[in-house]
């Protein structure tokens, strides 16, 4: 069975290629897939007829209890035969239905074959979840097939509607199936049927599964989607929306009925909705003028009928139901195909325009009439045989004390039966309307002149109609074949059988009444039409659907409009409020916690802290950008002091450097931005911000107090002192942590710096991270300026200084820079190398080196920066990363872990003991990355902004005219 499905899948996938190669004749090839399945099924007949089964299990997802489990017993066999047989026929029919040059034939072939496979899988599946898999696949293929003519708005909407409605039901079913499977402890259908679970969850599950069935089979209240789907090409209507897909719901009901028909809500749902749908569908069918729509409403009606029968849950009903399914599939597919032929031949499907086809298309007419007879249950065709048995089954329910085992009382049973008979009468009426409308010669309508159709075109419906007739005469054989399924139900009032003649029984009377009543309705069609025109639709589910969808869309807009404010401050406020409410709430309302306090370690902490707090508040009040920056700087330097007072010199050192760098970088940017923050006039929002700020600050204090007071354990770092020296080879524990114990963090951190630097460059240079490097050269203008400024007989202190306008130069600054620069660099190296034993390290060193570059830039402008560091910042950053990661990998090569360090002590003559820890190389990488970051910041926010300002003419003293004097150097 898996192979059959794979064959469908394979041919479907090849569909577009086959169509491209063979044109419309490709459908004959594609038909091979269902045809093969059909043949295989036929080969299983005897086994199945004897009540045997074919089982196949391929493991798929054991965790979900979802396997490719297939099981072929009678019910599956019957439906699979229908699905594959009709599928093959309809595919063959497509060969003549479509023009060879019709658009989208390839994807049509794909979707149709795929659908046939999915449908086959659906009826063969022995796993509830697998059944759902194929169930949804049929939905999707149906969506694609309904929307085949993609550019028509109506088609698209109908496709979407079918998709949404059936998927909605399908998802309900999925939950239902999971409820059942969970209760049963298995998803294997055969096992569930063998030992059905019970309980409230199962009841709910069964109801939800029925929702799926009802939606798929277009019962009330989901009945509206099926007529809408008639925009699809007729083969689709014939196959999906008559023979196959819509039967899935009926199949599910039939499948589960043996196990769950006695579950409380089952019969009210299937009988109530089934009977009501039958009547409503018939009523709607009567007013249709489009033959296809007439058939579609008829299908809705018949599906209600089928669900009511197969869901009844008696042995008689089971037999009759399956027979009815077969009969319906045969006649409805045939009728749709006939309509398709009429449509192609006559160019219309409107029964008001068609006339006299009986004469001009006799074969088609005969085919159609035979199928119509079956639909109207006129003896001796299949429909009659089946419907007769149906009436018998329902009469049994009505007349036996226990409702033929169903427990339905006589009154409800009578009502249902009456509804079914009435529905049958409507069926007869719309059948008559169809036959008359399609084939009859109408007095006031000119005779239709159809174009000739190929004989092969008619073959498929003709064959189906012939089968309809044949089955009518094969009641006994049919009974024998279906019986194994029916025996899953307890024996009823009497053993059912399918036959043309059961004797003069009440059922026959009911059949007769239905036919006569139907003919009467047809006869009175004028009056009926007027009545229908006046009647207010009881339940316009289609309108309900549309208003639901509109409501959904409106809800979506309203909810989105409310929750998605698009405003950063609001998003941040939400986060902060969540922090105050959740963890803050837990603090306030949760279990009590203790507070263990001391005022300070040293009073200076309070003094510095107070100053920091004041500066923070002043910074929040500041309206001038740089003022706020400076006050933040105060909090930064203050924090550095707090670090120091706590006993963290490394932190204090880094914080001081970072704060200095931060201020300068701020200045570099703020020089371009407006001096003042713009006013935000809303005072209320200001108070709101203040409120949130106070709340968050309070919560923060509470968190810290609670968490700190809760500590009883010793810190993991208590062993660091000993280990740092013995294993890390350094005395400065913080540095050993940074370059060794937690070097992995540091590696991440320098990566952050590298990308942040790259980001800074990308914000300024936009499309590259490389700034052009330009160094001052001896140009004529510079020479002139040198003469003017006396440079020719004086020292040059910084080469870049000559590129500055005189009023921007300061010789004092230049001289001091010239003298101090190398010292700064040497000091940065000192910090780098001494860091393992004293405060310092790669970060601090790199920052000092970066500040040295910054001083060069401040003293003599952007050319001086390029002069100081004529390399691409990316190179420095990259080199740093490579050195750091390379150090890490190197230890791996030497058999250690990543970033493992070695302590090397050697005695060099003259120099004495050299103590080398390999983690210094890692720190060198860190140093380089920090320098690279600073270089990138200076290139971008310093030089880059200078250049852009010069190009905009914002700064008179940096004229663009000076550009040619410099050689644009290579990095």
């Amino acid at each position: 069975m898996t192979l059959l499905l794979l064959l469908h899948l394979g041919l479907a996938a090849l569909g577009p290629l086959v169509v491209r190669a063979m044109g419309r004749y490709a459908f004959l090839v594609l038909a091979l897939a269902p045809a093969t399945a059909f043949c295989w099924l036929l080969a299983q007949s005897s086994r199945v007829a004897q009540g045997g089964s074919v089982v196949e299990v391929v493991t798929w997802v054991p965790s979900l209890d979802l396997d490719l489990a297939f099981r072929l017993t009678t019910l599956q066999w019957v439906l699979a035969l229908l699905v594959s047989g009709i599928g093959a026929l309809v595919l063959a029919y497509c060969t003549w239905y479509f023009d060879g040059d019709a658009e989208g034939l390839g994807r049509f072939g794909l979707n149709f074959t795929g659908f046939a496979g999915a449908m086959l899988g659906l009826v063969l599946a022995d796993d509830l979840l697998l059944l759902y898999v194929f169930w949804e696949l049929t939905t999707v293929f149906s969506y694609l097939l309904i929307g085949h003519q993609t550019e028509r708005r109506v088609d698209r909407r109908a496709a979407l509607q079918a998709l949404i409605v059936t998927t909605a039901g399908g998802l309900a079913m999925l939950v239902g199936l999971i409820l059942i499977g969970d209760a049963a402890g298995t998803y294997r259908i055969s096992e569930i049927l063998a030992a059905p679970p019970t309980g409230a969850a199962v009841t709910a599950g069964v109801v939800l599964a029925l929702v799926g069935a009802v939606s798929k089979s277009a019962l009330i209240p989901f009945h509206f989607w099926l007529p809408g789907a008639m925009v699809a090409p007729t083969p689709v209507s014939a196959y999906l929306h008559a023979a196959a897909m819509v039967k899935a719901g009926v199949y599910l009901v039939a499948l589960l009925a043996p196990a769950f028909a006695d579950v409380g809500p089952w019969r009210p749902i299937v009988l109530g909705l089934g009977a009501a749908t039958m009547a409503l569908g018939g009523w709607h069918a009567l007013r249709q003028t489009d033959l296809k729509l007439l058939l579609a409403h008829g299908t809705v009606s018949q599906l209600g009928f089928l669900v009511a029968i197969v869901g009844l849950g008696t042995r008689s009903a089971a037999l009759a139901g399956v027979a009815m399914v077969v009969a319906h599939a045969l006649f409805k597919a045939s009728l749709f195909l006939v309509v398709g032929i009429i449509d192609r031949a006559a160019g219309t499907r409107d029964l008001r325009e068609l006339s006299g086809l009986a004469r001009s298309m006799p074969v088609v007419t005969a085919t159609g009439l035979a199928a119509a007879a079956s639909m109207a249950a006129i003896p001796p065709v299949a429909g009659f045989v089946a419907k007769e048995s149906v009436f018998i089954a329902f009469l049994d329910v009505g007349v036996t004390p226990d409702g033929d085992g169903t427990g339905i009382g006589p009154v409800p049973a009578g009502i249902v039966l009456a509804a079914l008979v009435a529905g049958s009468a409507l069926t007869v009426a719309y059948t008559a309307r169809f036959a008359w409308g399609a084939f009859a010669a109408k007095r006031d309508v000119p005779a239709t002149e159809p174009v000739a159709v190929a004989a092969n075109f008619v073959a498929a419906p003709a064959l189906l109609s012939m089968l309809s007739v044949a089955v009518g005469f094969a009641g006994a054989a049919e009974t024998a074949l279906i019986e194994p399924y029916a025996t899953a139900f307890p024996p009823g009032a009497h053993e059912p059988d399918l036959a043309l003649w059961h004797g003069l029984e009440p059922a026959l009377a009911l059949s007769a009444a239905a036919v006569l009543g139907g003919l009467a309705l047809f006869g009175l069609r004028g009056r009926v039409e007027r009545l229908q025109a006046r009647a207010v639709p009881l339940l316009d589910a289609g309108r309900t659907y549309h208003s639901l969808m509109r409501g959904l869309d409106r809800l979506a807009v309203e909810v989105t409009g409310t929750t998605q404010r698009g405003s950063l401050p609001i998003y941040l406020a939400v986060v902060l409020v969540v922090v105050v409410v959740l963890p803050g709430g837990a603090l306030v309302f949760g279990s009590p916690w203790e507070v263990d306090l001391r005022a300070w370690d040293v009073p200076a902490q309070a003094a510095v802290g107070g100053l920091v707090a004041v500066a923070a508040v002043l910074a929040a009040r500041a309206r001038r950008r740089l003022k706020a920056v400076v006050l933040v700087g105060v909090t930064g330097y203050g924090t550095a002091l707090l670090f120091l007072l706590h006993g963290a010199p490394d932190l204090a050192l880094t914080q001081v450097l970072v704060e200095t760098v931060t201020i300068v970088v701020f200045v570099l940017v703020m020089r371009r931005l407006p001096i003042y923050f713009s006013d935000r006039p809303l005072t209320s929002s200001r108070w709101g911000r203040l409120g949130i700020g106070v709340l968050v600050g309070t919560a923060f204090a509470g968190f810290v107090l609670a968490a700190t007071s809760a500590r009883t354990a010793d810190p993991v770092s208590e062993d660091f002192a000993a280990e740092a020296v013995s294993f890390g080879g350094g005395r400065n524990i913080v540095n050993v942590i940074l370059v060794d114990i937690r070097a992995w963090d540091t590696l991440g951190e320098i990566s952050v710096l590298a990308v942040a630097a790259t980001g800074v460059a990308s914000m300024v240079f936009v499309h590259t991270r490389r700034a052009g490097i330009a160094r001052p050269a001896e140009g004529p203008t510079i020479a002139a300026r040198r003469r003017a400024t006396g440079d020719d007989y004086r020292n040059t202190w910084l080469r870049g200084g000559r590129t500055l306008a005189p009023e921007r130069r300061s010789i004092i600054f230049e001289v001091v820079t010239r003298l101090a620069f190398h010292t700064m660099i040497a000091f940065s190296l000192f910090l780098l190398f001494s860091g393992h034993n004293n405060p310092g390290g790669g970060f601090a060193g790199g920052l000092v080196a970066g500040l040295a570059l910054m001083v060069r830039y401040l003293a003599a402008g952007r050319y001086e920066l390029d002069e100081a560091a004529p390399v691409d910042a990316g190179l420095v950053l990259g080199l740093g990363l490579v050195v750091a990661t390379g150090t890490g990998l190197m230890s791996l090569l030497f058999g250690g872990e990543v970033l493992q360090s070695a302590v090397i002590d050697v005695t060099v003559p003259l120099l004495g003991e050299i103590h080398l820890v390999t983690s210094i190389f890692f720190d060198i990488g860190v140093y380089l990355v920090v320098v690279g970051l600073m270089l990138d910041v200076l290139r971008s926010l310093g030089s880059g902004v200078d250049r852009q300002a010069a190009q905009n003419g914002d700064e008179e003293d940096e004229p663009a005219a000076r550009e040619p004097e410099v050689v644009r150097g290579a990095g």
Partner: protein
């Protein structure tokens, strides 16, 4: 290598390196020199044309004088700051230095700025002119005193650092000025 070691910057860096490590060992001197050479090689700057030579005694005198000045003037400015109700008047004056060396100019300016009461806010390089802001100027004599003071500072600097030729040139200009402009 030998050339590099003769560079004053390398020497200074070596000294600084040893000061930083706080230990005058061979290893520190060697590594300091190495650092100096590497740093000056990796970050080349225009050569400092320093033709003078250091006169230790004069330097010491300069420093001593500077410390005294610093203390005295600091007290003065502090007093000024603490004298409530008194609004000091200021002045911006110019002084034409006699030397033409950027280095001496810078050192002079630095010292003048460091020493309370005066602050160099502008320099004209072509004429070696310093523009000073003076704090607490009562009358013109204060201004003249400040100008003379600035020239004196320059002279001390030149005496401490200049070569004999430079010194001779400096004396020549000074006497020419004193002689040529009796103001």
């Amino acid at each position: 290598m030998g050339h590099a070691l003769r560079s004053p910057m390398v020497v200074w860096l070596t000294i600084a390196w040893v000061l930083l490590w706080g230990d005058l060992s061979i290893a520190n001197v060697v590594s300091g020199a190495l650092i100096g050479i590497v740093v000056t090689a990796v970050f080349p700057l225009p050569p400092i044309i320093f033709e003078g030579r250091v006169h230790p005694v004069a330097v010491a005198r300069l420093l001593g004088w500077f410390v005294v000045e610093l203390v005295v003037a600091s007290v003065q400015v502090t007093a000024l700051a603490l004298r409530f109700g008194h609004q000091p008047r200021n002045a911006v004056v110019h002084v034409d230095l006699r030397s033409r060396s950027d280095l001496y100019l810078t050192i002079t300016a630095e010292l003048l700025t460091l020493v309370p009461g005066s602050m160099v806010i502008e320099v004209r390089r072509t004429t070696s002119t310093l523009y000073m802001h003076l704090l607490g100027v009562r009358d013109d004599s204060d201004v003249d005193r400040a100008k003379a003071h600035a020239l004196a500072v320059e002279e001390r600097v030149v005496r401490a650092l200049a070569s004999s030729t430079e010194l001779a040139e400096f004396r020549r200009i000074r006497s020419a000025e004193v002689g040529g402009s009796p103001s």
